[in-house]
Amino acid sequence: MDLHFTSATATDEERSAIDATLDGEAGALQPPTTSERFRKRHLLLPVLHAVQSRVGWISPGAINYMGERLTVPPAEAYGVATFYALFSTEPQPPTVLHVCDDIACQTRGADALCKHLEAEFGKEGVSCANGAITWKRSPCLGLCEKAPAVLFQTSGEECQDYTLAPVNAEQLSSALRGKPSKEFRPIHGLPPQTVTPAMPLLKRVGSVDPLSYEAYCANGGYSALRRALEIGAVEVIRELSSARLMGRGGAAFPTGVKWKAVSEAPAKPHYVVCNADESEPGTFKDRVIMEQDPFALIEALTIAGYACGAEQGVIYIRGEYPEATSHLQNAILQARSAGLLGNNILESGLTFDIEVRRGAGAYICGEETALLNSLEGKRGEPRNKPPFPVHFGLFGKPTAINNVETLVNVLPILLEGGSQYAEIGSGNSTGTRLFCLSGNVERPGVYEIPYGATLRSLLELAGGVAGGRNLQAILLGGAAGVFVRPDELDIPLTLEGARAANATLGSGVVMVFDDTVDMRRILTRIAGFFRDESCGQCVPCRVGTVRQEEALYRLMEAKGEPQKELALLAELEQVMKDASICGLGHTASSAISSAIHRLGVFQGVKE
């Protein structure tokens, strides 16, 4: 293909960052295409990451050089780079501090933290400390149980991004005044719940060394994969179906049905993909699993590959999870050297390997088809469905995409048997479920409870409202979920129970707000989140999320006529629900609408 490039050339540093990525391990994925235009394009995101972390921004010269090496037109590479919040196409300081000002952090002092930074270091986005740093507000960093949270995005040779949570103003100041840290700081917070060996998902968390393959094996690791190889792929899928395992990523789709469709699809090759993008505000359960029990996910994805007839698996993890990423990479390396990834796994003839790919700051890339496009080196725009990924997935081939929590459930299902697993819970809500408690709750963190407990009992398990204050509302299911009132605590935490209450469990978010929180401010933050995270493809969501935010500001500032604004919000909700392409648009007004109608947030406004 004949591509046109400007005269801008890459620096030696940029070249070496790009070359190192392309000549290194990153090439494990092999797209089944001979088209020059698409053969290497899937490496665009890894290459952009390499440049961003080496020199701190993506320059015209770098875009040209990666375009040449990957056969990507520079306009398209620029279009991809500018899609992601963690990439900059302008020079910026070597350290960028991303300060979460999203809703859970707001309940724990995020606004004060931002004010402090503004006073000490100047406005957001402006470089300070002699050009060494800048700070920016960020959507939820998936560290809500330790709110308020920050992410240090660093650049330079051997620099490593890291997170700090919880942080206070003094810690931040001294961290910022010091040298950028090369030191790696994993987060080893233990779940607040007493973890017992009887808990299928959390049992190793906090007690088994997440960096050790031996420790994993000594604690039941890889027995599920052995079992799978014993009973065969068809039987594995049958066990999932009798377990009635429903996806934990938000849409609650039956996993057995998904895997069966992929395993039987005639087109080859097949792929399995783990959705570890976890960017729904208030969600952090997948992070805890990946940080504390990474081998479990590797084992589960291997079983998925076996059952679905895939030789290649990908874990797409959000770019803001440096610690989890490094734990997964370590686990993959160890599994590979132990012969549990690669050729002829456990002498069974199974060939399977896993590559970790990092997102770069885009909530929408958690939507499964946007994720696929992102993996292919395109903008993370959702595809129109049908066709569905089970038929037309990664590189157009049959692909099973599952959430982290969904996958790790496969282990207990194979160990106990599907019908035994389904003894817990009822209906389609079987097994245990991870809930992410955050906000004004006494003991925030991940909780594993059997399906069927009530919201009240979960809240009590977490010690109730922090400081014994009064409950104002609970956000159930995430920013794409709904608010419920204090008198609705008897909702059973099952798919069916939530649905009957016109709510959703979504990704397991339970965010608590006490009566001191200004809910209007929470709502404008949610509206701002959707406005920022819309991919911009379709009109209802691209413009609708802007109009929704504007109307909320008018309501909050008591400008205009409240009744008119509320009517406008209702009209916007309808068109976004009905006519948007993907789930982001479909749910962009869900929490806001529930706050208005269920909590009556704007009831008091003067007419």
Binding site: P73, G79, T89, R379, R531, V546
Partner: protein, 310 residues
């Protein structure tokens, strides 16, 4: 050239549209079925000669059993489908899509059909408030994904910005851009294979752009003008037309269109020369011709300029 059909005829499917049964060949989109039945359906991002991107959502219809509305331009007909084109939900979504667009984009020069749809669906874009002040030159091009300032609560944000005039052949007025992706498709794999422009940024800050928003003259653009040919809003416009509009001498009532064949090479593309006051003011090519499907090269599109310069 038309090849002779040897494949067996496609099986026919039956669907119900607004209560009436319709038979169409397998592979038809709902839009094709609607057109066959003579039901007018608004479209903005759809064009016969481009791959459907289904992003504008103005063509949505209700398919019974589907939780959300579906874009008729890209959804294939299935046996037994029950389609409603006039339900309250369809009416609402089409109206809102038009309102949202018109509240954020300058739609003054859209085609007559679109203007009529705005009327028919009762679009009232003013209800979102007075338009905000236009952004400064380059400001929208520099927006960073994932970050925006709190809205100005009394006005409605728009994409208004200065016109990009960076070459002698055509201008780009992105205040008029509805982000239908057509120009990107025409510049890319659907026709030109030049890839000079792409969508950059995200959400409301998404925009059509060259790399780093460089001027077209530095970009890969070869001035085929195929992007102009597909743009539904006149955001992309011949410089000749733009200059005349600025000078207020543009007058379509005084224009005639002459069909001819491009004289430059052996391909024989159809040309439509638009003539005003005895001067060629722009060149287009009809979509429905086998040879070019509306696409041209720089010579056919702009090669007449020297005639005017006699």
């Amino acid at each position: 050239m038309q090849s002779v059909l040897l494949a067996p005829p496609k099986p026919m499917l039956t669907l119900t549209i607004d209560g009436e049964s319709v038979r169409v060949p397998e592979g038809f989109t709902i839009l094709q079925a609607l057109r066959k039945k003579g039901i007018e359906t608004p479209t903005l991002c759809y064009l016969e000669n481009l791959t459907p991107v289904n992003v504008c959502r103005v063509c949505v219809v209700e398919v019974v059993g589907s939780r959300v509305l579906v874009p008729s331009c890209s959804r294939k007909v299935e046996e037994g489908m029950v389609v409603l084109t006039n339900s309250e939900r369809v009416q609402h979504s089409r109206k809102l899509v038009l309102e949202l667009l018109a509240s954020s984009v300058d739609m003054a020069l859209v085609n007559e059909d679109t203007k009529r749809w705005m009327q028919e669906y009762g679009a009232e874009p003013e209800k979102f408030g007075e338009a905000s002040a236009p952004s400064q030159e380059g400001e929208r091009d520099a927006r960073h994904s994932g970050h925006h300032h709190a809205p100005h609560s009394t006005t409605a944000e728009t994409v208004a910005q200065p016109v990009k005039v960076d070459n002698d052949l055509y201008i780009r007025d992105y205040s008029k851009c509805i982000l239908c992706y057509k120009c990107v498709e025409a510049c890319g794999a659907d026709a030109q294979n030049t890839f000079a422009i792409a969508v950059a940024g995200r959400g409301f800050d998404a925009r059509i752009s060259t790399e780093f928003a460089i001027p077209l003259t530095d970009s890969a653009c070869v001035y085929c003008g195929n992007c102009i040919g597909v743009c539904p809003t006149n955001a992309l416009m011949f410089k000749s037309e733009y200059d005349m509009r600025q000078a207020e001498t543009w007058d379509e009532t005084k224009q005639t269109v002459t069909e001819t064949i491009c004289p430059y090479c052996g391909v024989g593309c159809n040309l439509e020369l638009h003539i005003q006051d005895n001067r060629i003011v722009k060149a287009t090519s009809p979509l429905d011709r086998d040879i070019t499907q509306g696409h041209l090269c720089i010579k056919g599109r702009f090669g007449w300029e020297f005639i005017n310069n006699r």
